[in-house]
Every structure is written in structure tokens, then in C-alpha cells.
Symmetry: C2
Subunit: 159 residues, 2 copies
């Protein structure tokens, strides 16, 4: 296996495995449980789920993979902290967004050629990218996998 | 920059940044706070800190980088769940272990040539590695960074 293909596989495997971890966890939690705080005074499960979807929508933009699927989630789940927005989408709706989004991302990832992952992402200038070639599309997946794992550790506390 | 060097940098950067995240968080928490549960009935901060050190000691073994620094932590922080072991090390002691271990790991990582990261780790057979070359040393760092982020999300709740 050429090294580039191997390296991309290592990173995408970790992303997909983290998505599956989250799927399994979500299936084990009721909508009622998702309304609970992960710890007293902290974010609710439903907020973290919406936050993950909103951040993964941003990933589509950073990877130049088209429009956000749920741009309306940016305001309540990224710009606003939990418990400051009067009306959030229902847990059932967010679950459906999560599943559709993960599938859409998977399809887009599968259409990428290994070399394309080493192109610059949309938030870095051509000039900076010449000096810092690690600021490529694959690195966005690396950092967003970290972000997902961070919040997975928190969502797990709802069990 | 040769591509292999770039791959390795992307992964190690994420590891080091996660270690720094943990350092900063630990500095912001008192020893008293570390004795608290991250959520009612869940693991205590001190348990998670000991657990991370024990898991990172295992990483040294998997990467064939010499002996564990604190083998005595395996029993209380990996084999045993929290609150089942009568006497755990003091928080101050674990903090010192954490710092020394992170520094030791950094030195060992810096001594690796980029290609060496793509050699097999110690828990995979030569036969399996031929079929699954992604089971290399660098991939151990990928998965352990995920693990660290997962527990960082939990430790953060002590703030």
C-alpha cells in the first residue's frame, strides 16, 4: 500500500470509528436522557449533540465539500451557550440530522483521492500553506476527531 | 518537506497539543478538586489522572520504547475501577509522574526517525502486519490521542 493511502486510511479509520462510537452511545440513550445535564450545571446531552452536528457542518466548509446541511444550528449550538436559547430542535430531529450528516460526510470522504487530502483547507491562505503544509484537509479531520472524542467522553456520562 | 515527515508531524502535533491541554487543565485544578467525581457517581479526577499515566506507560511498551515508568499504576488505574482500591497515590505525586512521563515520552518521540513510525507496534504479529500495515507505531499515537481527548472532556467538568 502506498504510504499516502496508508496514512489517509489511519486518519479516516479513527474518524469513522469515533462516529460509530457516537452512534452506539446515542442508540443507548433515550430522548429524555439527552435532555439531562452531563454533570450538574454543565451542558445538556442535546446541546452537545447539536454542537457536534454544527461543528461537522463547518468541516464541510473547511474541506470545500459544499454547503452546510444544517446552517440553522450555528446560532444555537456554536454561537450560543447551552440554556440561553428558548427553543432547540427536538432530540429526534437532531438524531436524524446526525445520521444523515455522517452518511453525507462519508460519501464525500470516499470520493476524495488520497493526494487531495494534502491540499490546503479553506481557512488557510496559499501563502501560509506554503510555509505550513500540515494545514491541509486531512489535518482538519485529525482535529475534528479530537473534538468529537472530547465530547464523547462527556456524553458517555449520561449512561 | 518529505511527505513522511509531514504525516508524522500532523500526528505528533495533535498528541503534544493534547498533552498541553491536559497540563493547562491540571494547573487550574487544586488537589482537593481532583478528589471530586467528574459527575455524581462517576470517576474521580484523581482516578482519571492515574488512568492516563498508566495508559501512557503502556504506550511505551507498544512502541518498544523501554520499560514502564510507573508499573505499579496498572493495578489501581487500569485493572481496578475507581473507588475499589483503598489507597491511591497522592494527587501531588501523580502530577509529578504525569510531568516526568510526558517529558520522557517527548524525548523518545524526538529520537524516532520518521520512517520508524511506520514499523509494526509490539502487539501485532509480523504476519498480521503484512496484511494490515496501518497497525504501526504511529497509529498507536493516533488512538491514544483519542483516548486522552475523551478523558480530557471529562476532567474539564471539574472546573
Amino acid at each position: 500500500m502506498p504510504t499516502t493511502t496508508l496514512f489517509v486510511k489511519m486518519i479516516l479509520d479513527r474518524w469513522y470509528a469515533s462516529i460509530v462510537n457516537c452512534d452506539v452511545l446515542l442508540h443507548s440513550l433515550t430522548d429524555e436522557t439527552l435532555q439531562k445535564e452531563i454533570a450538574p450545571g454543565k451542558n445538556r446531552g442535546i446541546y452537545l449533540l447539536g454542537h457536534l452536528i454544527a461543528v461537522h457542518d463547518d468541516l464541510l466548509i473547511l474541506l470545500d465539500m459544499g454547503e452546510k446541511l444544517y446552517p440553522e444550528l450555528n446560532e444555537p449550538f456554536i454561537k450560543s451557550p447551552d440554556k440561553t436559547v428558548a427553543q432547540l430542535p427536538a432530540a429526534s430531529e437532531l438524531r436524524s440530522f446526525w445520521t444523515k450528516q455522517s452518511e453525507a460526510i462519508k460519501q464525500k470522504f470516499e470520493n476524495m483521492k488520497p493526494e487531495e487530502w494534502f491540499e490546503k483547507h479553506t481557512a488557510v491562505t496559499t501563502e501560509d500553506f506554503e510555509k505550513e503544509p500540515h494545514r491541509n484537509k486531512l489535518n482538519i479531520v485529525v482535529t475534528r476527531t479530537s473534538h468529537l472524542q472530547y465530547h464523547l467522553g462527556q456524553l458517555q456520562l449520561l449512561k
